[in-house]
């Protein structure tokens, strides 16, 4: 499938990327703006106003007052995303998250040959690395939050933040050049891993999502649970498979196993495989649907 075909077949998802950008990224941030309007908050919303990671940091760092304080809506949003993943799969990651969308879009737009792009075909290895990060993230949050090693460790959550980098670029794009004036080392490292290594030089452009996003990791676990309960998931029909491996090539999350089944903890229900091959279907219920 060439780039034009890919674009046409997945058009709703790519339109959804644009919608996600307008919903969460300033100067638009329409979703956050609407919530702020309802609760009477006069702050100017940015992508940072609904941080996808801080509530997770707060919980494991014991900062419960933040969850129930003025940033309650940020926590509600993150929990909402995780709970929705039980029913819809990690659809927020695959369809709306602007951080993942931008790196994936850049990866698709820049024609670097696949031989220069990293892809781990062993889904168990990808999964073990993804959850290694999650465990490390939780450990740092707890050690810093409970002051067990607060002199030796600092925040992973805020120091290495792709959302901030994206917001700064977007603000600059829409006229506020001061947003990209100051760069701290953590932001430079985030930029390198999010867009350059994880975006351009990882197949699918979702390196940040795979290895650096705790919300994505939790959403993956929720999806695994939801799939077992029979909620929305993508299934492989072996009888329709000719073993061409196209599915593995198009999956941005490296979620297709060697036997062409899907590793749920990685899958974001993006339907790229569904559109590339008839052997995949998005289904609901206990059995694979016929159509």
């Amino acid at each position: 499938m060439n780039a034009k075909e890919t674009l046409i077949r997945n058009r709703w998802r790519y339109i959804s990327f644009v919608v996600g950008f307008f919903l969460f990224v300033a100067p638009f941030a329409l979703f956050t703006r609407a919530v702020y309007l309802i609760v009477g908050n006069t702050a100017e919303p940015t992508l940072h106003s609904v941080c996808f990671r801080m509530p997770i940091d707060w919980i494991f760092g014991g900062r419960f007052y933040s969850i129930f304080g003025s940033s309650w809506f940020m926590a509600a949003f993150v929990f909402g995303v995780i709970i929705s993943s039980i029913f819809l799969g990690a659809a927020f990651c695959g369809w709306l998250c602007p951080v993942g969308a931008v790196s994936e879009a850049i990866s698709r737009a820049v024609p670097i040959p696949n031989k220069f792009r990293l892809r781990i075909r062993d889904t168990k290895l990808t999964m073990s690395m993804r959850y290694g990060f999650l465990v490390g993230f939780i450990a740092v949050a707890a050690l810093v939050g409970y002051k067990l090693a607060s002199d030796q460790l600092g925040s992973i959550c805020c120091r290495y933040c792709a959302s901030s980098v994206l917001q700064n670029f977007a603000s600059a794009l829409f006229g506020d050049l001061s947003a990209i004036e100051y760069w701290q080392s953590g932001a430079i490292i985030s930029l390198l891993f999010w867009l350059v290594i994880g975006g351009l030089f990882m197949s699918g452009g979702r390196g940040w999502c795979l290895f650096f996003c705790p919300l994505g990791a939790f959403s993956g676990l929720a999806h695994k649970l939801g799939a077992r309960l029979g909620f929305y998931r993508i299934e492989h029909k072996p009888e329709s498979c000719n073993g061409c491996n196209k599915c593995q090539d198009v999956c941005p999350m490296w979620a297709i196993k060697e036997d062409h089944n899907i590793e749920r903890t990685l899958c974001v229900n993006c339907k790229e495989c569904v559109h590339a091959c008839d052997a995949y279907k998005l289904i609901r219920g206990r059995k694979i649907a016929d159509s």
Partner: protein, 197 residues
């Protein structure tokens, strides 16, 4: 076969912890985040202020530009920043908070980037809404970005001033947090790691 997965898992945990350790180093020297409370007087040493709200830790801020990360020193040595998300009133009466960076040399330009749930007058650096006892400025984010001319970069002390938190109605300085930018042999005891909100 299993060894590969365990190694991958442990390796990424180790990388994440290393990033946490690096973050602690950066937190003392790049975009240092600190807490502000009024009225605290002159913050000459690390202190915990208790009053109408939560206990707030404050200390003089000393930023050693030599301790910054390699990437920062390589790409943007002449820009350094400070940040706060927290201004609390631990006193007994409402205060209209005005901020001032004291003793900034005329050739060091400072950009104020402010986002706040209270209306902020950028010309006078004053919040128009009074801050009530026990309260904090909601959804606050202030970054101060210092543009340091090249000829300052070899000085042992580049900036020696501080943040004044002033009662806009009376002009009284309620809190003064000393801030110093130095070259070598010093460290800050402010919040580490670039914490937010």
């Amino acid at each position: 076969m299993k060894t590969k997965y365990i190694l991958g898992f442990v390796l990424v945990i180790a990388i994440t912890l290393s990033l946490g350790a690096y973050s602690a180093t950066l937190g003392k020297s790049e975009l240092v985040h600190f807490w502000v409370a009024v009225p605290a007087g002159n913050v000459t040493a690390p202190m915990v202020l208790r009053g109408a709200g939560p206990p707030i830790s404050m200390s003089p801020i000393v930023i050693d530009l030599q301790s910054r990360g390699v990437l920062k020193n390589l790409l943007q040595p002449q820009l350094e920043g400070l940040s706060t998300h927290w201004i609390y009133n631990l006193g007994k009466k409402p205060v209209k908070v005005k901020l001032n960076l004291a003793n900034v040399p005329p050739d060091i330009a400072v950009d104020w980037e402010v986002n706040s749930g209270f209306e902020f007058d950028a010309a006078t650096h004053t919040f128009k809404t009074p801050l009530y006892p026990g309260g904090s400025v909601p959804n606050l984010g202030i970054d101060w970005v210092f543009h340091i001319p090249a000829y300052y970069m070899d000085e042992p002390v580049i900036y020696d001033g501080g943040l004044e938190v002033i009662d806009a109605d009376t002009g009284a300085v309620l809190t003064f947090i000393p801030i110093k930018f130095v070259n070598g042999a010093a460290s800050s005891s402010a919040t580490q790691g670039g914490s937010c909100h």
